[in-house]
């Protein structure tokens, strides 16, 4: 029993998948969606997500956005998304270190919120690549 998952980014349609289940992290926690799920609108957290296609899990690093579940399928509206293969681990590690040094320094000019988001994104990338 599968349903359609559309992933939309500002650059257009990223992927259209025929999935049997989808697990995403909303701001309230992880939620798995199966076929026939009730209509749902939710906000997505920065976290890894996975889709099950033919009993295989496909992992993605998700960088926030919104989810809209309707009877026609699931639409993920995201700012950015990377599949496991697309992630540049070295770059993610470098950006993690950069964010950490920024957060550890006592410079008052630093945009803490931005640094936290950068750190979160790089951690998600690293986590997804290790799945």
């Amino acid at each position: 029993m599968s349903f359609v998952v559309r992933i939309i980014t500002p650059k257009g349609l990223y992927a259209k998948l025929d999935a049997s289940s989808l697990t995403v992290k909303l701001t309230t926690g992880y939620r798995t969606i199966l076929k026939g799920h009730m209509d749902l609108v939710g906000a997505l957290d920065i976290a890894p997500m996975y889709v099950v296609i033919d009993n295989n899990r496909r992992y993605y690093a998700l960088h926030g956005g919104a989810i809209n579940v309707t009877k026609d399928g699931v639409t993920l509206i995201v700012n950015a998304i990377e599949s496991k293969d697309e992630i540049d681990v070295e770059r993610a590690k470098a950006s993690k270190e950069r964010a950490e040094t920024r957060l550890n320094s006592n410079d008052s000019n630093i945009d803490t919120k931005r640094a936290i988001i950068a750190l979160k994104k790089s951690l998600v990338r690293i986590e997804t690549s290790e799945k």
């Binding site: 939309i8 980014t9 500002p10 650059k11 257009g12 349609l13 909303l26 701001t27 309230t28 939620r31 009730m38 209509d39 749902l40 609108v41 939710g42 906000a43 926030g64 956005g65 919104a66 809209n68 579940v69 309707t70 639409t75 509206i77 700012n79 950015a80 931005r114």
Partner: protein, 280 residues
């Protein structure tokens, strides 16, 4: 006479080399136009989805959305105005300047220009300018525009501005583009206030969702309009360069005729002199 000939020849050469530049600029603008048009078209799906999601939220919520639907009690309005960074597209920038001069009240507004050309113009003409995000359209990156989206969202919620408006250039087709005003805040409630037919689960609740999704919505709007303005800018530049090319061709034709006339006149005169000399 020979001096005159040389002068015309020099002018033809100079017009030719200018034409080479305008031709190159036209090609660059054409390529960029195509690129931005593709970006604009592929972004359409995303912005439509966001808008329809916001519509669902707004049609289901009552007082939670109020903060976004009414003007604040402040006396200033913030205008975000999109201009270009580079020249050679004067008609594009001028249209925006006229539109701003006509629609923006200097005393009760603050202008936030995007694009260096606008920054210079509004400062010189006595507007109050905040140029923190002036170079955001130099290399358009979604995360930069996100910063602007988060910033204006915060400014509006904190009640610093009565309203936040965006002036951009709407792209009609490759020769027609018009400046337009878009109300970012307060958000216009969707006209269709009818029940959308189903009531989805809101996770966790409508209020939090609206708070989470409005910055995403604003960023999407800004990105869409900045891209659309870029398309208009490139189209305007291409038209300007095309006209310059045509003018150069015309000028070269005229000058060549002039040159040939002068050359022929010189020859005729020499023949006349020789013939006259023989007759003596």
């Amino acid at each position: 006479m020979a001096q005159n000939l040389n002068k015309t020849k020099r002018r033809i050469n100079s017009v030719n080399s200018t034409k080479k530049i305008t031709k190159a600029m036209e090609l660059v603008a054409t390529v960029k136009l195509k690129r931005f048009k593709n970006i604009m078209l592929s972004n359409e799906l995303y912005s439509n989805e966001i808008v329809s999601l916001i519509n669902v939220l707004f049609s289901k919520s009552n007082e939670d959305a109020e903060v976004y639907l009414n003007e604040k009690e402040a006396d200033k309005t913030l205008y975000i105005v999109i201009n270009s960074n580079l020249g050679l597209c004067a008609s594009y920038n001028n249209d925006i300047y006229h539109f701003v001069d006509k629609n923006v009240d200097k005393k009760s507004s603050i202008i936030m220009p995007i694009g260096i050309k606008g920054d210079t113009y509004y400062k010189r003409n006595g507007y109050v300018v905040n140029n923190d995000f002036v170079s955001i359209n130099e290399k358009i990156s979604y995360s930069d525009i996100e910063q602007l989206g988060i910033f204006i969202h915060k400014e509006f919620i904190d009640g610093k501005y009565k309203a936040i408006k965006l002036i951009y250039t709407h792209y009609v087709n490759s020769i027609k583009f018009v400046p337009e005003l878009f109300d970012v805040f307060p958000i216009k409630k969707p006209i269709s206030n009818v029940d959308i037919g189903y009531s989805p689960i809101f996770d966790p609740n409508i209020k939090t969702l609206i708070e989470e999704l409005i910055p995403i919505y604003v960023t999407s709007i800004l990105y869409q309009k900045i891209i659309e303005s870029q398309v208009s800018e490139q189209a305007s530049r291409r038209t300007a360069m095309e006209n310059a090319n045509d003018n150069a061709d015309e000028l070269i034709n005229e000058l060549t005729i002039e040159f040939n006339k002068a050359r022929q006149a010189a020859i005729t005169q020499e023949i006349n002199e020789v013939v006259a000399g023989q007759a003596k």
